[in-house]
């Protein structure tokens, strides 16, 4: 069953990129065995850091709560398998490109014994949405598209808005990454079940599952499951394979023809977007009581011997994962967690796979682009920018540190997709420059605010001192006047008293 493609909005720009996904989608998902050591970063979400609730030496079971955050924006971390906590210490993590962050290190015992659960949870359709959301919070579910925003909080915020659509993001437009494709091929039923749970939580009636047209098997499988289900509320949509249509704001525009306001969220445009992986994770938790302790990851690139998709426990190190798939080739030069355009270049393979890791990409030497030349204002970058910015203007203003112009021309709306870099004939590293400029804008704004405050306090102080001085002056003038009026006798008296005092000292 092919999906209808009408009603699509228009996305400006974007590029058709070589997908490089065929080698990793040739074989079904392999389940990776539990590694000897699991390294679990305490914070695997956007928001305030979590804190551990277990101690060193403690024995833990699969699915047991290891860390939770007490602030409003956070998500818990669960043990990916049973074993003993042997350390809680800094360990290299991909979030910091190889620098360290606090991690809980578990030596697995191989038994994979799950934690006892209360008897089966009630049917989710009988639960109030708020109760359902609290339940989702306890599952450690975060956005698996890469943003790792705590899902429960995202849904809670969405409930305060006027929503029209739930959109499941199966687009996966970035080269090399194919984990969502394989998920849709093999676990379509779970994804759709997750969609139903989400629709109940949000009280929505329309859900679009959006898939790119270069994924015929996924479209086929999803279509079959939907046909059997007869749920008219869930609609499969096909979009052309253009990078970066998978970005949240871009997807909203493409599917509903609405623009997400600058600085706003898709909920401002009446849409909630969730990755298909997140939907499947919600199903696993709400229906099967398994918290987020594993995910599908694409191991690929010409630096690995056998590209494939694996289902790995969260906390498996990249080194273990690559070993399992057959190791590196001789040409392994660059390790990237993520995709070709927006991934993180990581300095060591000791980093663990976390909830955000959708792809391990090992490349042979990336060719150096050649010397950077001045911008010739060709406008290629503006042609491909999905947000319709003018990167050539942003570049001039970034070089000039012109904070006001950078804001005016929309630097904060840049999604750092990297399309402009690819088409620049002068080989200017635009995305990197914009990232730096965004940091610079924040820095400059902070500096300005501080300087303004210091100036106000300085001027206030000067006013205060001036006031005190003028008070003293007027008092002195009054004294002088009264002394003069009193007459020379009084002055002589005062002088005599003063002489006496001096003699006494």
């Amino acid at each position: 069953m092919t999906a209808p493609t009408f009603d699509l909005g228009k996305l400006h720009g974007g590029l058709r990129l070589t997908a490089n996904k065929s080698s990793s989608t040739a074989t079904p998902i392999l389940d990776m065995p539990i590694p000897e050591q699991l390294v679990l970063p305490i914070t695997q979400h956007v928001g305030d850091p979590a804190h551990p609730v277990v101690g060193i030496g403690e024995r833990v079971l699969k699915g047991q709560l290891l860390a939770e955050s007490d602030s409003a924006l956070g998500a818990p971390v669960h043990a990916s398998s049973s074993g003993k906590v042997i350390a809680i210490e800094p360990w290299p993590v991909s979030r910091r490109n190889g620098d360290t962050a606090p991690c809980i290190i578990i030596e697995s015992d191989g038994a994979d014994k799950p934690i006892e659960r209360a008897e089966s949870a009630p049917d989710f359709t009988t639960l109030e949405p708020d109760v359902l959301l609290t339940q989702i919070l306890h599952g450690g579910i975060v956005g698996l598209g890469g943003a790792v925003f705590p899902t429960a909080q995202k849904l809670m915020q969405a409930r305060t808005c006027e929503l029209s659509y739930l959109i499941l993001n199966g687009v996966e437009c970035e080269p090399y990454i194919s984990c969502d494709d394989m998920l849709m091929r093999e676990r379509a039923a779970e994804i759709i079940s997750g969609a139903e749970i989400l629709m109940h939580a949000l009280q929505l009636d329309v859900c679009y599952i959006v898939v790119e047209s270069d994924k015929p098997e996924a479209l086929h499988t999803l279509g079959d499951v939907l046909a059997e289900l007869h749920d008219k509320r869930i609609i499969l949509k096909q979009v052309p394979s253009i990078y970066p249509s998978g970005g949240e704001d871009q997807l909203v525009q493409l599917v509903t023809n609405r623009e997400v306001p600058s600085g706003g969220l898709p909920t401002d445009a009446g849409c909630l977007v969730q990755n298909v992986g997140t939907a499947a994770a919600i199903h696993d938790w709400v229906i099967d009581h398994e918290p987020l302790i594993s995910r599908i990851i694409t191991i690929t690139g010409d630096g690995v011997a056998s590209p494939m998709n694996v289902r790995a426990r969260i906390g498996t190190t990249v080194a273990d994962a690559i070993n399992f798939t057959g190791g590196y080739t001789e040409r392994a030069e660059q390790l990237i967690i993520g995709g070709l355009m927006t991934g993180r270049s990581v300095t060591t393979d000791r980093v663990p796979l976390v909830k955000a890791s959708n792809c391990v990409l090992v490349l042979s030497e990336t060719p150096s682009p050649g010397a950077e030349m001045p911008c010739i204002r060709c406008g290629n970058c503006a042609d491909v920018c999905p947000v319709q910015l003018l990167p050539q203007q942003l570049f001039w203003y970034a070089c000039a540190d012109d904070e006001r112009k950078l804001r005016e021309f929309g630097l904060t709306d840049c999604i750092e997709c990297g399309c402009c870099d690819l088409v620049c004939p002068s080989h200017i590293p635009l995305t990197f420059d914009f990232r730096m400029a965004k940091g610079r804008i924040r820095e400059l704004a902070d500096e300005k605010a501080r300087a303004a405050r210091a100036r106000k306090r300085f001027e206030a102080r000067n006013e205060r001192l001036d006031l005190e001085q003028s008070k003293r002056d007027s008092e002195l003038a009054l004294q002088k006047k009264s002394v003069k009026q009193a007459g020379p006798a009084a002055i002589a008296e005062i002088l005599k008293r003063k002489r006496q005092q001096d003699e006494e000292d």
Binding site: P261, Q334, L335, S345, D383, F409, H427
Partner: protein, 350 residues
Amino acid sequence: MDFPHREAPYVGPKADVAALMLQVLAALVPAALAHIWFFGPGFLFNLLVAAIFAAAGEIVMLRLRSRQAETGLSDFSALVTAALLAFALPSLTPWWVTASGALFAIVIAKHLYGGLGFNIFNPAMAGYVMILVAFPVHLNLWVAPRMGDIDYQTLTMLQTLQFTLTGLLPDSISFDAISRATPLDAMKAGLNNMQTVTEIKALPIMGSIGGRGWEWVGIFLAVGGIWLLIKRIIRWQIPAGVGIGLLLPATIIYILDPGANPGPGFHLFGGGAILCAFFIATDPVSAASSPKGRFVFGLGVGLLIYAIRRWGSYSDGVAFAILIMNMSVPAIDYLTRPHIVGHDDKAERH
């Protein structure tokens, strides 16, 4: 295993400035060959002299600015400037006129404004205007086109070279025998003399649409330009703008008074209109950079070309039109900023 750290994206750009410039030069080759066929080898010598002096100017200025001379030359932008200058000049231009034009273009119009990417004015046009104003007589040495029925004499390659270098013709040949005015010159002179367009178009110098020989050069230039459009080296907005800006008033005024005004076809194939539309106005550095802005820029160029041709004292207004519109580019860019997704333009821009 350890790895180096790099910044995203992890794939290199496919485009390249040198490749861009070379493709522009390639698009000029058919027209260059047509030029040489119809008007003799003078074009080649102009190109050579312009290229040598442009390169020399580039090297000297880059050294003075403490930059790498090789990087500057290897992007071929100086060569493109030289080629466009050569197309604008008559075949028999003396070498020192071409040389000063090329030097002015590269040294003053390009490097003194900041070098590649920073110049406000199109260097080739700035150079052309400078020598047009400084050496007007020498810029009238147009050769008659090769056509069987015109009464003229051709110069051999050696004779052309001799004239270019020394300004001397062989004794047997007089200047009047080898040169003719351009079609635009002839049209302007004829109209000033109260001749009708039909009469002027009967002159042997005139071809079917534009001038003899010139219309062929124009056709090959258009072919090259369309090839550049297909390869997306240039975008359609500027050529379309120039075309409409030039042909719309030309058509209207021709319809109103056909006797005293040449038609749109003549305007299109006469002078440097096609060269301007596809190769000169599309210079990315000095043109506007938003899509709407580009169209407005092209439109302005076309309108100014027509205005100067019709009411000005110069027979062709391409160079001045370009320079005037170059000056308005910052304003055009500011006023034609595209809508940013998610921004409320009304709220922000008022």
